[in-house]
């Protein structure tokens, strides 16, 4: 009992003390740091000091010496979604991520997020609710029964995956808190912790986003049965780079709507600001519904590269479907809207 208590209450979880992992991982990381440092060295020589400091932040003490630990979850499969889809292999799902808090390249998150601490975690559900909730890490997997849903994920960059998520519907969570009359929107916020998230420390690494990353949905979108809070994928708790310990998954919208590592869900009576929209409103709208008929100003959204099994040439280019193929469930939400205007 006493041991249990120590483990739970300690600032650094028990896995950090497993000596067996420490040396090989550290050596591995150092090698990568050196290689990266060499690659950028030539650029570094030609730029002013302040920017340079930013670059060298990249090779600083962000890398943890122990890998992020996930654990198996118990859940029931929800067969209503994703039957017959070919899954994107787990290794690809966890090593090709957009999570600018850990760097802008696709491999930065897996490289830089291994030391991410999710215990303790606090998720607050607040705003126009009857009972504001404050959930800790254990609550996230215990509060509601977990189910597995296979969803297509369509990135605004025109690539896509098929991922088995584990979690619960956002609607179920919001019902627990009780949404008050007059509420129209739901706002989400990612953890702001520059000590842990190098992209929040250095503009060079974080891609110029104003952190914390924020997202939002209309209340009817939030309550739709498809809208999902994932706490795991491939049967285990979420890896850090995929948005541990809890993230949103909105399968009919571009991936950037599916905010990661959420610490705050706020029910509101007006449309909240959203990060990519703030950064480039002519390219990224509030709705961001997957729509092959509305191109990104700089690339086509008519087709997508489906990342599946196999090697480099194994991807296939397939037609992008309106609402990412979930029109049956969500098209009615936008009945009288011009989706070219509300992109």
């Amino acid at each position: 009992m006493a041991i249990n208590k120590t483990t739970k209450g300690a600032a650094s979880p028990s896995w950090n003390e497993k000596a067996a992992h420490v040396t090989p991982e550290a050596v591995f990381n150092d090698r990568r740091n050196i290689i990266k440092a060499l690659g950028l060295g030539a650029i570094g020589a030609s730029i002013p000091g302040q920017v340079q400091a930013g670059i060298f932040d990249l090779f600083g003490k962000t890398r943890s010496s122990t890998p992020f630990v996930t654990r198996p979850l118990s859940f029931s499969p929800n067969t209503a979604f994703g039957q017959g889809e070919v899954l994107t292999p787990e290794q690809k799902v966890i090593s090709h991520n957009n999570f600018y808090e850990f760097g802008t390249s696709k491999t930065d998150p897996i490289d830089n997020a291994q030391g991410f601490k999710v215990d303790p975690w606090v998720l607050k559900i607040e705003g126009l609710v009857d009972t504001p909730l404050t959930l800790d890490l254990d609550d996230l997997t215990r509060l509601l029964p977990l189910e597995e849903r296979i969803y297509r994920l369509r990135c605004v960059e025109a690539w896509s995956m098929v991922i088995p998520w584990v979690g619960f519907s956002l609607g179920a969570l919001l019902k627990k808190a009780g949404v008050k009359a007059g509420a129209t929107h739901v706002a989400f916020e990612t953890l702001f912790d520059p000590d842990q998230m190098p992209g929040q420390r250095s503009r060079l690494m974080g891609g110029g986003i104003h952190y914390p990353y924020v997202e939002g949905l209309r209340l009817d979108e939030a309550m739709n049965e498809l809208t999902f809070m994932a706490v795991g994928l491939y049967g285990k708790t979420l890896p850090a780079q995929n948005g541990a310990p809890i993230r949103l998954v909105v399968p009919w919208k571009y991936g950037f709507k599916s905010i990661k590592s959420v610490v705050r869900i706020r029910v509101m009576d007006k449309q909240p600001p959203t990060s990519w929209n703030q950064l480039a409103s002519h390219e990224y709208g509030f709705f961001a519904n997957v729509n092959p008929a509305v191109d990104h100003p700089r690339w086509s959204q008519a087709t997508e590269r489906r990342i599946g099994e196999g090697g480099l040439f194994s991807a296939t280019r397939i037609a992008t479907l309106p609402f990412n193929g979930y029109g049956e469930q969500v098209a009615h939400l936008y009945k009288n809207m011009d989706l070219k205007q509300y992109y």
Binding site: V51, K106, L204, I209, S300
Partner: protein
């Protein structure tokens, strides 16, 4: 003053070959070792594009360095470097067409026309292709004075390439900005101030 002999030029050329080829080896190793992530396509396209940009920086550094340090023979390494710009740009485009577009030629056509950053990059590449084709000695002799006029096109490429880079990124503009400034500086140092001044005075009087 440092004097370079023919044997030195050979050594420098070999060094440049090595420096230009090593990144390709590194890229192949990274991708095969699975260190470029679950879907290395974007990584490969970006890596080869950066290779072309860096080689172009090297090309444009040759003549200022040769002038400043009175190392005229260095000019002999310029074609080699220029052809590496072309080689990396070719890999960049091949990766885009094969790995990203998966040989959807109709999509390529519409993308080139509709997307300004691709149009800018493609224009630069066509010019680069012309320079590569006319880099052979025999063609150079045949072209006479027109050869230099055509090959001044490298300055246009030095403008198009960093714009293409800047325009293509989602939000991480710092690195492309650095390249824009760098190429701007490389073009700036080439301005012949005395001549410009003279022309200005002629017009003024």
């Amino acid at each position: 003053m440092l004097r370079l002999k023919a044997s030195h030029v050979m050594a420098i050329k070999s060094l440049f070959h090595l420096l230009a080829l090593l990144p390709i080896g590194y890229l192949v190793w990274t991708v095969l070792a699975g260190r470029a992530g679950g879907d290395p396509v974007q990584y490969i396209i970006h890596f080869t594009g950066m290779g072309a940009l860096n080689a172009l920086v090297a090309v444009l550094l040759v003549s200022p360095v040769a002038k400043r340090f009175k190392l005229g023979v260095l000019i002999q390494t310029r074609r080699l470097l220029g052809l590496y710009v072309f080689a990396y740009a070719t890999l960049h485009i091949c990766a885009f067409i094969s790995l990203d577009l998966l040989f959807e030629w109709s999509l390529l056509a519409s993308e080139v026309v509709k997307r300004p950053y691709i149009l800018v990059g493609a224009s630069g590449y066509v010019l680069l292709l012309l320079l590569a084709i006319t880099s052979v000695n025999r063609v150079k002799r045949k072209m006479g004075r027109r050869w230099q006029t055509l090959h001044n096109g490298v300055y246009l490429i030095a403008i198009l390439a960093p714009i293409h880079f800047y325009w293509s990124v989602k939000s991480e503009v710092i690195e492309p900005s650095i390249y824009l400034i760098l190429f701007g500086a490389l073009l700036f140092v080439r301005l012949n101030w005395r001549q410009l001044k003279k022309r200005f005075q002629v017009r003024a009087s």
